[in-house]
């Protein structure tokens, strides 16, 4: 029990919130609503998983919200121009990959701090997206695109299925592959990674590309829901993605990745949001509640940590030697 909690500490706050909602509303526990929550959570969890790698590597990618927009715009306008939908969707992912590659190259080859590099990309890509659309919606009606969120293979909504698959894949990658370990290694001590002969630059570029592709995919999901692309979409999404990762327990300073945590973080955030809507909370109070719940969830973890671990780094906390 305690071990399970240690591995997935968000489970507790999540259960608490769910319990409160189950009692205070009569619609929270309906199948339709739970599906709602899980689909919404899945849509932010998928890019969140990619962002988990970035944070585990000790870096940020702030540009993902703009990638969402540009990818959606490229996909939709290509469909409008007559490109087959699947190809247009692939093109959107390529756009994401290129943005990620640009981030990676600027960060590794030009030595620009990730925070500024990706902030600059955020601004530039948003500019591209707005310049390209000039404020016009790129409206499409594409069954293939719609299938991304609307499809129900095996009766399960597509985003949920994808999120579960991605989580499994991410978990395996983080914990069982060289790439995953190297990402954590770079995040834990970049200099040591270099000295150990790890291809640090290539690892970093790969992670930025991963986030880029995930951003592109996020853009497809949003465009799938809205059946349009637009330069205004995805604003502020970078914070959403980073929030679910941090909430999930992946350290901001890097070195550790909590894949399951990210998934739970996404579910927690979306449960809170959904709950506040079910309770008809006015917008001003919604903000406060989201803020307070964020703090409360982490405070709960913080207090627990404090009782467990009396002294911080680098005092040796270990079983007494035999």
């Amino acid at each position: 029990m305690t071990d399970a909690l240690r591995k997935a500490p968000l489970a507790l706050p999540l259960l608490a919130v769910a319990l409160v909602l189950a009692v205070t509303t009569n619609s929270f526990l309906t199948v339709g609503n739970l599906e709602n929550v899980l689909v919404a959570a899945a849509i932010v969890a998928i890019p969140g998983l990619a962002m988990t790698f970035c944070l585990a590597m000790g870096e940020f990618d702030l540009s993902i919200g703009s990638t969402v927009s540009l990818a959606g715009v490229v996909c939709c306008s290509s469909i409008i121009d007559g490109m087959p939908a699947l190809l247009a969707m692939a093109l959107a992912l390529v756009v994401g990959a290129v943005i990620g590659l640009a981030n990676g190259l600027v960060v590794t080859k030009l030595g620009v701090t990730p925070f500024i590099a990706t902030l600059a990309t955020l601004v530039i890509v948003r500019g591209l997206s707005l310049a390209y659309t000039d404020g016009h919606d790129q409206i499409v009606s594409s069954a293939a695109l719609k299938y991304l969120v609307g499809g129900r293979p095996l009766g399960v909504p597509m985003p949920i299925l994808l999120a579960v698959l991605c989580t499994a894949l991410a978990w395996w990658t983080v914990n069982r592959t060289r790439f995953g370990r190297w990402v954590c290694a770079v995040g834990s001590n970049r200099e040591a990674a270099r000295v150990s002969g790890l291809p640090v630059d290539r690892i970093r570029i790969a992670v930025y590309m991963l986030v880029g592709v995930a951003g592109g995919f996020w853009g497809l999901l949003i465009s799938s829901q809205l059946q349009k692309g637009n330069g205004q979409l995805g604003m502020g999404f970078e914070l959403d993605a980073i929030t679910v990762v941090v909430l999930g327990g992946t350290a901001l300073l890097g070195g550790r990745a909590s894949v399951i945590g990210t998934l739970l973080g996404a579910v927690l955030i979306e449960t809170i949001r959904n709950g506040l809507n079910l309770l008809n909370t006015p917008p001003a109070f919604q903000r406060i509640s989201v803020g307070l719940l964020l703090i409360a969830a982490l405070a709960l973890l913080g207090l627990r940590r404090r009782t467990v671990k009396a002294a911080p780094v680098p005092v040796t906390v270990r079983e007494a030697a035999a």
């Binding site: 395996w172 914990n175 069982r176 592959t177 060289r178 370990r181 190297w182 954590c184 290694a185 995040g187 834990s188 001590n189 200099e191 040591a192 990674a193 270099r194 000295v195 150990s196 002969g197 790890l198 291809p199 350290a251 890097g254 070195g255 550790r256 009396a310 002294a311 780094v313 680098p314 005092v315 040796t316 906390v317 270990r318 079983e319 007494a320 030697a321 035999a322």
Partner: protein
């Protein structure tokens, strides 16, 4: 391959190597060579350029001039991976470990084997192989432990295991024993000999000349970034090496001034801290140097941190000058007049982004302020800096140099100066001479002696047995978090310390119990 004997006898040849940093020429026209199957020691004062040379070999620094040949062909590593591919494994003086990853993951980083069936990293294999490496080194470190929770000496052993796990032709070790206990040193030297017998070469850097004479075939002396001499070990002796290193004779005899029994400063009565310390009782008097010995991991850093308020007491009581002493934080302890030197220079010692001057004065900021404005006075700070630079022979380009740019030993001197600066009732020194050169070591011992003359009590933790016994007036021995020995007078012998620390014997001198 060439037929010339002299050519084939050299595996690695360094010629006219020069390395520059802003403001410093760390290596100046240095030559150095390594033969197959030899142990080649590299010695020199702190800042002489030893680590710099090794970093060039490892692909961390690019020389501004010079040439290196490996097995006769040009060797110009552009990055550490190149060195590894060329079969050169380096153990750097400052660890390069991932604190968040496990021991085994650290050891095999970059070379993780995949399991043939699951196609995932074969953890069973790396854990087993790591355990085997530690077995060779004669230590028990859990391969699945997170490295950030290890002691400094355990981390050093992980670094060594990492280098051994690479099948290198040349294994380069930069002060591998600085953090090891006597026992572990013996084992490491055995390992070095075994590597040699396997035909591998070892470049060995150490400030402990007895190790050099115990294991090396040849020795090279660097001074001020220049090559001074390379000699067969049999063709030289300790005195000569010291003279070549420092350019003068050094008497390594430590003379402890007689101190008179002072008042009781610190008393611990049955102090426990979690599972790390159990029922510790000890006393430290004014003007006294009390040593703490024991194998690594017996609870020494925990004991010092409990007294310094960095670790919570779970049972028992402390008194200082007869009054209850319950520091809640190091800040509390410092306010009570306690100074502290941490054993982990890199992780908990240096403030890497700050200058040498700032590192020296950070604990005495109230003393370097203008009285009227309470603003820091750069002049007063520089005065403190100049004083310690002189007393400790700190080699730096000036007060504004970042401490991270100093050689390891010089960083240690700065940290020692920092601990000394506040003065006061009690000085807690963890491994005060770790990594410092022979001359500075003597100097530091003198300084410890000097502060006790002012009535300051010193608690010194050292894994260097000669230092522990030579410098302290009394010695407590720790084992598994308990005090298992208290050695005074005649009883202060290496045999007794080792017996208490490792065999479970308990020896308590009766000379002056309380």
């Amino acid at each position: 391959m060439g037929t010339d004997d002299d050519q084939t006898a050299v595996l690695l040849q360094v010629d006219r190597l020069t390395v520059e940093f802003p403001g410093v020429r760390a290596l100046d026209d240095v030559h150095f060579d390594v033969r197959p199957g030899e142990v080649h020691a590299l010695v020199g004062e702190n800042g002489a350029g030893k680590s710099t040379l090794l970093k060039v070999l490892g692909g961390l620094h690019r020389p501004s001039a010079g040439e290196i040949r490996l097995s006769g062909s040009t060797y110009r590593p552009r990055r550490p991976a190149d060195a590894l591919h060329a079969g050169i494994a380096v153990i750097y003086q400052e660890f390069n470990l991932y604190p968040d990853l496990t021991v085994a993951e650290n050891v095999f980083s970059g070379r993780e084997p995949y399991h043939p069936l699951t196609r995932g990293i074969d953890y069973a294999q790396i854990n087993r192989r790591a355990a085997e490496l530690f077995e060779v080194l004669g230590v028990s470190i859990d391969p699945t432990a997170t490295v950030g929770t290890l002691t400094v000496s355990e981390q050093q052993l992980v670094e060594i295991a990492k280098a051994l796990s690479v099948d290198g032709r040349i294994i380069v070790m930069d002060e591998p024993t600085a953090a090891l206990s006597a026992d572990e040193v013996t084992r490491l030297l055995d390992v070095v000999r075994r590597l040699r017998s396997e035909g591998r070469s070892v470049v060995y850097v150490s400030h402990r000349l007895d190790e050099v004479f115990a294991v090396a075939d040849r020795v090279t002396v660097l001074r001020d970034g220049r090559h001074v001499r390379t000699a067969e070990i049999t063709a030289t002796d300790q005195e000569e090496l010291v003279r070549l290193m420092v350019g003068r004779d050094i008497s390594s005899v430590f003379h402890r001034e007689e101190v008179q029994e002072g008042a009781l400063v610190l008393e611990l009565d049955g102090v426990s801290a979690g599972r790390q310390l159990r029922g510790i009782s000890l006393k430290v008097r004014a003007g006294e140097i009390v040593g703490i010995g024991g194998v690594a991991g017996a609870g020494q850093p925990e004991l010092s941190q409990v007294i310094f308020g960095a670790l919570a007491v779970s049972a028992g009581a402390m008194t200082m000058d007869g009054r209850a002493y319950k520091p809640k934080s190091p800040a509390d302890a410092m306010a009570a007049g306690v100074g502290f030197l941490h054993e982990d220079r890199k992780a908990a010692g240096i403030l890497p982004d700050l200058s040498v001057r700032d590192n020296l004065t950070i604990s005495v900021l109230h003393r370097v302020r203008a009285a009227a404005t309470r603003l820091l006075s750069p002049a007063a700070q520089t005065a403190v800096f100049a004083d310690y630079r002189k007393r400790l022979a700190i080699r730096t380009t000036g007060p504004d140099q970042l401490i991270g740019q100093l050689s390891g030993g010089n960083q240690q001197k700065v940290l020692f100066g920092r601990a000394l600066a506040p003065g006061g009732r009690l000085l807690i020194l963890n491994e005060p001479t770790r990594g410092v050169d022979i001359g500075a070591k003597v100097e530091i011992h003198h300084l410890i002696n000097e502060v006790t003359a002012d009535g300051t009590a010193v608690l010194m933790i050292s894994s260097d047995l000669p230092e522990l016994l030579g410098v302290s007036d009394r010695v407590y021995v720790l084992a598994a978090g308990e005090i298992v020995g208290h050695l005074e007078g005649q009883d202060r012998t290496e045999e007794n310390v080792i017996a208490c620390a490792t065999t479970g014997r308990r020896i308590f001198s009766e000379v002056s119990a309380a």
